[in-house]
Amino acid sequence: MNIFINGVSYSVPPADSLNASVAHALRLFLSDDQQQTTFAVALNSEFVGRDFYSTTPIKQGDSIDVLFPIQGG
């Protein structure tokens, strides 16, 4: 199963594909240390709260945005 994280294609391992969640996707994108940093997630342009990463399923072709704080005006 392929998904997109911040516009880049990632392949979810077959073993994880059956019950893949946002939490699985984040492990493809972030190291364990990086998962402790400050970020927020949207799945197909819908906000997903951190309490729901493990229970929000993903499917082929889904697009995930992982956003971090930056400077702004």
């Binding site: 906000f47 956003l67 704080p69 005006g73």
Partner: protein
Amino acid sequence: MSLTIYGKTLNSRLLIGSALYSSPQIMKDAILASGSQVVTLSLKRQNPADKSGNQIWQYIQEIVAQTNGHLLPNTAGCKSAKEAITLAHMSREIFNTNWIKLEVIGDDYNLQPDPIELLSATEQLIADGFNVLPYCTDDLVLCQRLSDLGCEVVMPWASPIGTGKGLMNPYNLETIRLRLPNTTLILDAGIGKPSDACLAMEMGYDGVLLNSAVALADNPVAMAKAFALSLQAGETAYVGGVMAERQTAHPSTPTLDTPFWHQNS
């Protein structure tokens, strides 16, 4: 004098952005010099291995801690209500605040807000419990509609973001002030010089939000101080009451008993 926004009392009427500075340390020094207690910031995609974003975030947290300040996340870059609503929810989770500087851009050339999408996003976000600070054009009716929806704060632009052109339409801005006397009005975007900020405060605006004017100055720390002073001057002038403009000259020196040179005329 203090300013209260959505129940939080601030010692400064200047709201300031954290972007475009030449270094994080200069950003911090300038924001501290400004006296502002509200710092805007944003969310973006980023390579998680890139430490620079995290460094900026650390600096901003230090500023807020030192000033007993508040974060004001924005929805910069959003072009639809749906995008802005999603980004606002993401911001609330990260920054733990209901405040959102709502930007929905309708035109790439001048970054003019889209009034239709802005109203739509505002309505939904207020329903979702946000304290919305909408960035909008200097259109009286749009500002009225935003206020009617429940925005305690409305933020019309002075001119397009980053132009430094100052107050393009003083008449519009004065009219908004006159017609919305109970709405907190923050002039946002396009400020170039401290005198621009002073003029807004002389009109009775409640505050000014700016970024480029400080960040792009030759000396951002000095410019931040200048803006702080200009807001104080403008606010004090508004309280003092600016004299009515007159069409004809009036001598300020008393004319009664004018001495010799008029006596033979």
